[in-house]
Symmetry: none
Subunit: 226 residues, 2 copies
DNA sequence: ACCGGCTGTCAAAACCGCGTCAGGCCCATC
DNA sequence: GATGGGCCTGACGCGGTTTTGACAGCCGGT
């Protein structure tokens, strides 16, 4: 799950951010000064940092520089200072965005989403999003599937279903979601299709297709990748 | 050199941007409405787009969506509208940043630098100029191809396809990606073209064109360079 | 035990995508 | 005006994919 590190000495703001981010499904870590922030970032490897520039002791800009020395995780700066000079210094030090207080929570959340989306795009090309279930492994970036070392050929529809299940690994994917994602929203209700293609995926990927261990049916609801 | 596409119907602002960006060493293209912007983006492939949301005719948000359908080039929105709803809509449609008028030129330039820096990090992946498949080798720098020691002549279109495949060696390149990159985003669906040119590339590059070993078809999805 | 709803299986039929060939257009060159 | 290379268009056959239909098994409720 996505982890956001909030760095702010203002208890009110830190609290408000924690509540709102948690409600949106992010995990949240909090630090209250620069030194703590650097320690927390090194240890927890957050996917994004929200950083207040006015911190006790440390200078905010140098916190940005210290982070940028070893990580490219997005940094969204939050600040009371509206002067251009500070904004430019922060952005050039490596910040990804700069929001001035007072700020609208919804806007900040949208900017966080935008920053995360960008880094997700970058990561999808760089990293190897290789998922391994134990019986077979899937590379989402390259669009390939292996089973026992050998590559398995999937048709486009099979791949579409598997991709959605892999992206939601462990979670239940409803029949409606699957049909909407692979065939289109107007195909809701054609659960017949799902049975056909789940069966085919099990044939190709499960060690014992009759006793599925990974492509699990949740009766009445949908399917889940274990 | 870095190319920035400025989309603004306000002549003053477009002029000011052109001057300031040029002075900073960027190449600048200008469009004055949404349709022109989409055409220019497809043709010139800018490294970044500065987009005014209030355009004659077109809705700015839909311009963002249209661009995002085929490119990840950073989009910095410039707008007179300060309401949160619009900001959020623009960011969620795929904008990377949102600057409200009146804006400080230096801040805007800093935000542009920040956006370009991010995408540069992502782009620094495919920087391997000489690629060898075993049957033929490609030099992306000088745009040449050899097979069995002899240079092979490719037409511009053939080269465009091969280049994209080489840059994504091993990973699946979808038909949409190929068409958008070589012909332009409005050619999505013309998969016929791909078959013609893949066939020609195979004739020129594969040891046995009837049994391709490198230019692999992934039926229904796209092609892959092995 | 019977039924309805849901899931899994099988096979045939309809459909679509790929590769291929041939021909026509455009444009630069001679 | 003729030539030729490069690009686009149309038609066709083949093979694989998707869709359809029919049937069997499982389970909870009646």
């Amino acid at each position: 799950m996505t982890l956001v590190l909030v760095v702010d000495d203002d208890i009110q703001i830190a609290r408000a951010l924690r509540i709102n981010l948690s409600a949106r499904g992010y995990r949240v870590a909090v630090a209250h000064d620069g030194a703590e922030a650097l320690r927390a970032a090194a240890k927890a490897r957050p996917d994004l940092v929200v950083l207040d520039l006015r911190l006790p002791g440390t200078d905010g800009i140098s916190v940005i520089s210290s982070l940028r020395a070893w990580t490219v995780t997005p940094i969204v700066v939050l600040s009371g200072r509206t002067d251009e000079t500070t904004k430019i210094a922060a952005l050039d030090a490596g910040a990804d965005d700069y929001v001035t207080k007072p700020f609208g929570m919804d806007e900040l959340l949208a900017r966080i989403r935008a920053a995360l989306r960008r880094s997700a795009v970058a990561a999808r090309q760089a990293d190897e999003p290789l998922v391994d279930t134990g019986s077979f492994s899937v590379d989402l970036g390259v669009k390939k599937v292996w089973r026992q070392g050998a590559e398995v050929h999937l048709t486009p529809t099979e791949w579409g279903m598997l991709e959605l299940l892999v992206r939601n690994r462990g979670r239940l994917v409803t029949q409606k979601q699957l049909l909407a994602d692979v065939w289109g929203p107007q195909y809701a209700g054609r659960s017949h299709y799902l049975r056909i293609y789940i069966a085919q995926l099990r044939q190709k990927l499960e060690p014992d297709p009759a006793r599925p261990r990974h492509l699990i049916t949740e009766p009445g609801m949908g399917y889940r990748l274990a």
